[in-house]
């Protein structure tokens, strides 16, 4: 039986360097980006940061991690806005902007292409990713 991989070749999940978390199950990443989990273990509020809806990497992340298309996630946020008062994560348009945001906000979590990672953020391993 093949063990589940820990990283996608198309993207890596990044957090602020102050975040002590090193590994997350893919189901927990899904919960964070769907705002069903709210606080890190160090009591920082979780701040998921998404990409602009037209970005190719957003489509990959939505399908691989969230198990939904970008359009289906938009519908999910309409539902959450009406029933829970929740807003979707803020979005950025470039890897540079995503990195800058995650480096600036202690509870931030986002994703970029592996080649875009720099030393200002920390990469976490995702378990259970297909």
């Amino acid at each position: 039986m093949e063990a589940p991989s820990t990283q996608s070749p198309y993207l890596v999940v990044i957090v602020n360097k102050e975040n002590p978390v090193k590994t997350l199950p893919v189901a927990e990443v899904r919960r964070i980006f769907m705002k069903q989990s709210r606080m890190w273990s160090n009591a920082e509020p979780m701040v998921p940061v998404d990409w602009d809806s037209t970005a190719a990497i957003r489509d990959v992340f939505s399908r691989q991690v969230l198990n939904r298309s970008v359009r289906e996630m938009a519908e999910y946020w309409v539902q959450q806005s009406m029933t829970q008062g929740l807003s979707p994560p803020s979005t950025q348009r470039s890897a540079r902007a995503v990195l800058r945001f995650v480096a600036s906000v202690p509870g931030a979590i986002s994703y970029v292409s592996p080649g875009d990672v720099d030393e200002t953020v920390a990469v976490i391993k995702i378990t259970g990713l297909k």
Binding site: R31, N67, E75, Q79, R96, R100
Partner: protein, 422 residues
């Protein structure tokens, strides 16, 4: 102008707008962080101005990069501000409907629902308020003289012949989420069953609620609800459990500020989310119970016990939803259910079929209804719906009691609606 926009939140924070309970050290740290980032933004803006003065084509990409940087900085400041101050989100929905059928009700355009939802999050606290205008009230200048007390025909709760409409606070609650396992919500809130929670016109495929819905579980409750959930990763999915337990005023008109008994109603809900992978995207099942009293016309209360089951299953582009409930009050048993398979043809089109049934001695109604419909959703916020339905009266002994009304006949109908979420 842009600079002013950036400076306003910083100045607001510096003026001490933050909540009183926030710890001083944390506030000071956040303010220092915001001030630091504001300096970074100023530097970026100066670089953009310098690059724009030079104007060679090769700087276009650099300017775009810097503009992206500024947005990231601005968003990160807003994010930090939310930790301190949060913000109010304002949403709403609009639903315009037309229906025509073979029943005694005339065909009509209906300015059906107009709702405004305000919400705010502050740390572990949430607040949500929903103001709903049903059958939107007429402007006083064109309302009938002298006013009318009637609210339409009995049994047609969606019809309002008075022109007065109804303005209702459907939700007004605040909640505290200690962690994922334990939370407390107080105030006026929708019952926890799936359809009540998701009855908004953007979220449903049909233009109408199932015929049994108002006859079983109460639509709303005014009280306190404990809730929580837990999940265990299974492969790339999870096995999840959720619970809700609530104590509320009994079910009668005007229960938002008084009750007719010291004994409160209570209810509970347990939900399981099974692991889903591949084409199976969702398997949720839940069970609900309600024990309380319902108000009678003479302002007395009668025991009312209801229980029900529900499931939502999503496999590839197929969705299946069902709910069933049974209630007992004054020695009379009432039941109802719906089954709704749906197929997502593509991103914009969804077709569905719904079979539903209600048997209720207390309102002398036994009916089965079939609905076939199509939704066009060009955007997640917009739904254009069309549907055909057939109503079939059922033969039941309780319909032949002395109070029995005129004999019901089968009829066919058509309804369409336009919905906008904003």
């Amino acid at each position: 102008m842009t600079r002013i926009f950036f400076l306003v939140p910083v100045m607001a924070l510096a003026a001490g707008v933050g909540p009183a309970w926030a710890q001083g050290n944390e506030m000071a740290t956040l303010r220092a962080e915001i001030a630091k980032q504001e300096v970074v933004i100023s530097q970026l803006l100066r670089r953009i101005e310098a690059l724009e003065k030079q104007q060679p084509p090769s700087t276009t990409a650099a300017v775009q990069d810097l503009q992206g940087d500024i947005k990231a900085q601005e968003d990160s400041i807003n994010s930090l501000r939310e930790v301190v101050n949060s913000k109010v989100s304002l949403n709403g929905y609009y639903n315009f409907r037309f229906s025509a059928d073979g029943s005694e009700e005339p065909a009509a355009f209906q300015q059906h629902h107009l709702g405004v939802i305000m919400a705010k999050q502050l740390g572990k606290f949430n607040f949500l308020m929903e103001l709903e205008l049903q059958n939107v009230p007429h402007h006083p200048e064109i309302a009938p003289e002298g006013g009318e007390e009637g609210e339409g025909e009995a049994g047609h709760e969606d019809t309002d012949l008075s022109g007065e409409g109804q303005v209702a606070v459907e939700n007004a609650w605040m909640e505290y989420n200690h962690n994922g396992y334990v939370g407390l919500r107080v105030g006026k809130q929708l019952s926890p069953q799936y359809w009540w929670q998701n009855h908004y016109p953007n979220l449903t495929l049909s233009t109408t609620i199932p015929i049994y819905l108002r006859e079983l579980f109460p639509a709303e409750l005014v009280g306190v609800m404990f809730q929580g959930n837990a999940a265990r990763p299974v492969g790339n999915s999870e096995l999840g459990f959720g619970y809700k337990f609530y104590v509320a005023n009994n079910n009668f008109e005007g229960n938002s500020q008084s009750d007719l008994s010291d004994a409160k109603s209570w209810g509970a809900r347990g939900q399981v989310r099974f692991p889903a992978s591949g084409a199976v995207r969702r398997i949720d099942v839940a069970a609900d119970i309600y024990r309380g009293k319902v108000g009678l016309t003479d302002n007395t209360l009668a025991e009312d016990n209801v229980f029900g089951f529900e499931s939502q299953i999503e496999i590839s582009s197929f969705l299946f939803q069902t709910e069933w409930a049974r209630g007992k009050s004054l020695e009379q048993t009432r039941t109802g259910f719906y089954l709704q398979p749906a197929w997502r043809i593509d991103e914009d089109w969804i077709t569905f079929y719904r079979a539903e049934q209600l048997e209720s001695p207390r309102i002398q109604r036994a009916e089965r209804r079939h609905i076939v419909g199509l939704n066009y959703r060009p955007y997640p916020q917009i739904a254009l719906k069309g549907e055909l339905y057939r109503s079939q009266p059922l033969e039941r002994d309780f319909l032949h009691s002395e109070e029995g009304g005129a004999e019901a006949k089968p009829f066919n109908g058509f309804a369409t609606a336009a919905v906008f979420f904003f």
